[in-house]
């Protein structure tokens, strides 16, 4: 067998694409070919739609796809978290049943972890699954569920044992979203968008073979999902660019991207839109106000310093040097940037900051900044949780003593009694 290296991989994928790529195929047909050939997820195992390629060589494959403007497998949304979790912990039946349709994009997935009563404290979930007769019966409520309204499958964290400590009584299920016991309702946010859902379970059913690993092991499996979520937090959204080209497959991909990206359309605004600050200050004349100038300068200083801190972290990562504390600070820094940006936008807009929609600056974009930035310091781990992580993992400070981890979960104070 010849040695696998960059040149050999490039040659092989290029030959395969030249032979097979055709923009007039259907999206699902093409992606099935990618699954069969392993070129869709080349670092996955050979027996499961991959080619066992070292992860370091996947950029070569991606480059060749881009060169040909060839469409890849479906990657956006929660589906890749599902795939990673199933690859790590699923049975052969799970892999057989789910992985191909994840790659083709035929199935979308959602993550049923957060609950109204357990946000930062995810292991405090009180949605219950009980084994009755020959199946699991689920009752409870989940929240902040992106894509639940069009998902076929959900990754469910539910409590199966109330008499053991909280982390030990959870189980991880794959739940069919298309059943009478599952009700999905949009969750309207303070900025007026409804990017997420609430999901209610009333005697929803899960077949016994759709538990992932075994009862009581749910927290460990969920940790795998969350690890992939953190690792891919940026790529989940940024990959979905699409090609602005004619052809059946491109059209189908664009439609898919539009659906997947819809919930994220206000995300640039939630980050504060620092890029709009100077143009807006010039447009309004506030650039001449010495107090506004000071606030703009503070914001630019913060935003630039945060950007340079991220660049330091990336440079350290690339060089393989031990990463300094700069790598753990990005999330907290971006909260500060978003808050400061909203404040400055408000100063610049003056009375116009009271308006929204068509009557307001930039057809509502500025108003959307002002009411979206609070999400930045909450979503994906609140600032408070980030500070705990930084102080404990980076600074080595002791954990707060806990009263909930070494007694039966039944006895732990909670928000709702179920």
């Amino acid at each position: 067998m010849s040695e696998i290296n960059e040149a050999s991989v490039r040659k092989e994928v290029r030959a395969w694409l030249e032979e097979n790529w055709d923009p007039n195929r259907g999206l699902v047909e093409w992606r099935n070919m990618l699954a069969d050939s392993g070129w869709g997820m080349p670092h996955w195992p050979k027996e499961w739609y991959g080619r066992d390629l070292p992860v370091g060589l996947t950029p070569v494959v991606e480059e060749e796809f881009r060169r040909m403007e060839a469409v890849g497998v479906a990657k956006a949304g929660i589906r890749m978290l599902a795939a990673a979790t199933i690859l790590a912990h699923g049975t052969d039946m799970h892999k057989q049943k789910f992985l191909r349709r994840i790659l083709t994009g035929e199935d979308t997935w959602c993550q049923l972890f957060s609950e109204p009563g357990s946000g930062s404290d995810m292991a405090g979930a009180t949605t219950r699954a009980e084994f009755r007769g020959n199946r699991w019966i689920v009752n409870g409520q989940k929240v902040w569920t992106t894509s639940a309204h069009h998902a076929q499958w959900g990754l469910l964290l539910a409590r199966t044992d109330w008499d053991v400590p909280k982390h030990k009584g959870l189980s991880y299920f794959i739940l069919d979203m298309n059943q009478p016991g599952v009700t999905v309702q949009p969750l309207k946010q303070m900025n007026g968008h409804a990017s997420f859902n609430q999901v209610f379970f009333t005697d929803a059913e899960v077949e016994p073979e759709f538990i992932v690993t075994e009862p009581g092991n749910g927290w460990a499996v969920a940790t795998t999902t969350l690890m992939h979520e953190r690792r891919g937090a940026d790529s989940l959204r940024t990959w979905a660019m699409g090609y602005d080209k004619p052809g059946r497959i491109y059209e189908e991909e664009r439609a898919e991207i539009a659906t997947v990206m819809e919930p994220y359309k206000w995300y640039p605004q939630r980050a504060g839109r620092v890029d709009l600050v100077l143009p807006r200050a010039k447009e309004t004349g506030k650039i001449h106000d010495p107090i506004v100038r000071q606030e703009i300068a503070k914001l630019l200083t913060l935003a630039k310093s945060a950007e340079w801190t991220a660049r330091r972290a990336r440079a350290a990562q690339l060089s393989g040097k031990p990463q300094g504390p700069e790598g753990s600070l990005g999330k907290l820094a971006s909260s500060h940037v978003a808050r400061a940006a909203a404040r400055v936008h408000s100063m610049i807009s003056g009375a116009d900051a009271m308006l929204t929609g068509a009557d307001s600056p930039m057809n509502g974009v500025i108003a959307e900044i002002l009411v979206s930035t609070p999400a930045t310091s909450i979503a994906g781990g609140t600032d408070e949780i980030q500070r705990n992580i930084i102080s404990e993992r980076v600074l080595g400070m002791p954990k707060e003593p806990r009263t909930d981890t070494d007694r039966p979960f039944r006895e732990v104070p909670k928000n709702t009694v179920t």
Binding site: T301, W308, E384, E392, P398
Partner: protein, 383 residues
């Protein structure tokens, strides 16, 4: 932009940190800060013999080591961390830069080697009683006399001004204003007509002096009436150097406060186990890292002659000033009562933070400067 230090730079920092830990423990800082001079000539000589630090950014042609702003930044950061009492900022940063920026080839050959070797202590006198850090504040007059000039007026807030052997002075042609008519001059510290008085400084580790010039004979440095540009560039470089020094000091305060809360027990547990303390410590880490990032970026921008350098020099100074002060306030608070005592070392850095906030222009001044420079920098960068 690299956004990372090379292995050589890391090694340089490690050597320096060990050296300064040894040479400038808090006991030594306390000894020197009580003296009138504020530093020790013998220790200064050793510093330069062992590591050649004063010449770090002086070109090799003038007896220096020929390194860039990044290396000078490392030196400043480590000195800020150790709170070294030495005429480094005055001589190696302010005076050496002004001479390198403004001097003729002949003057650089004559003046820089002895500064780089640490034999001559030099400083830069440009601020006056009005406390302004821009050219508008310069009122001292230079009058042609014989084959030289005569200086009349007052300089104040001059770092190590009472001990320097050589003083670089900014003065103006009679009747000129703003950037016009400004020239640099050199004056020996013991010249007739120059009277020097050490000011009572809140931060005893950085000595300032007020200098009165009455008909002091001075030699022109560089071209007559052309000092505005080299002065501005010198001050930008000094701002970046100071930003590094402040970032180093802030990091030291942060680490010392963290050690203290990990040790201090109240209510039956270390106070480090309380979230309120942990969150403050996390905020301090973020602040200090942001200040370091800005200082490091500005140093690279200087070495690469990036068009945004003047803007980011002010950005780095403003950022580091705010962070150093806030970190110092948190550090005292985290120590509680003992943090307010003279015996605890926190106040030594706290006072350096206070004086550095004002030195070379306060954060509001630099933010305004940054705003004036930002667009021009962006335009130049995209041109």
């Amino acid at each position: 932009m690299q956004f990372a230090f090379t292995d050589e730079q890391r090694e340089f920092r490690d050597v320096l940190r060990r050296f300064l830990q040894n040479k400038s423990p808090p006991g030594e800082v306390r000894r020197l800060m009580e003296t009138d001079q504020g530093w020790d000539r013998e220790e200064w000589r050793k510093l330069n013999q062992d590591l050649g630090l004063t010449g770090v950014r002086v070109p090799e042609a003038y007896g220096g080591q020929g390194f860039g702003m990044v290396e000078l930044g490392i030196v400043m950061e480590e000195m800020g961390r150790a709170l070294l009492c030495a005429p480094y900022f005055s001589s190696a940063v302010l005076a050496a830069t002004a001479i390198a920026e403004a001097g003729t080839e002949e003057q650089k050959r004559a003046l820089l080697p002895s500064i780089a070797a640490g034999d001559t202590i030099a400083t830069l006198a440009f601020t006056e009683d009005n406390g302004r850090w821009d050219t508008v504040g310069i009122e001292m007059t230079a009058t042609p006399e014989g084959d030289g000039f005569r200086l009349d007026g007052t300089k104040s807030f001059v770092v190590d001004g009472h001990t320097a052997d050589l003083i670089v002075v900014a003065a103006r042609r009679q009747g000129s204003s703003g950037d016009d008519g400004l020239s640099f001059f050199t004056v020996a510290g013991d010249t007739e007509g120059l009277s020097r008085r050490r000011l009572e400084t809140m931060d005893p580790t950085r000595k300032l002096a007020r200098l009165e010039f009455r008909g002091v004979k001075a030699s022109l440095l560089g071209s007559e009436g052309a000092a505005a540009a080299p002065l501005a560039r010198t001050l930008d470089i000094a701002a970046v150097a100071l930003a590094h020094e402040m970032a180093g000091g802030a990091e030291r305060l942060r680490e010392d406060a963290l050690d203290y809360v990990n040790m201090r027990v109240q209510f039956g547990r270390t106070i480090a186990s309380f979230q309120v303390t942990k969150h403050k410590a996390a905020d301090m880490l973020l602040d200090v890292e942001l200040a370091k990032s800005a200082a490091y970026y500005a140093a690279e921008a200087c070495d690469e002659n990036a068009p945004d350098f003047p803007a980011v020099a002010s950005l780095a100074k403003a950022q580091a000033s705010d962070v150093y002060m806030q970190t110092a306030i948190h550090a005292v608070q985290m120590h509680g009562g003992i943090g307010f005592t003279w015996d605890n070392d926190t106040h030594l850095w706290f006072k350096r933070a206070r004086s550095s906030e004002a030195f070379l222009g306060d954060p509001a001044y630099h933010r305004e400067l940054m705003m004036q420079r930002w667009d021009t920098g962006e335009e130049r960068a995209s041109a």
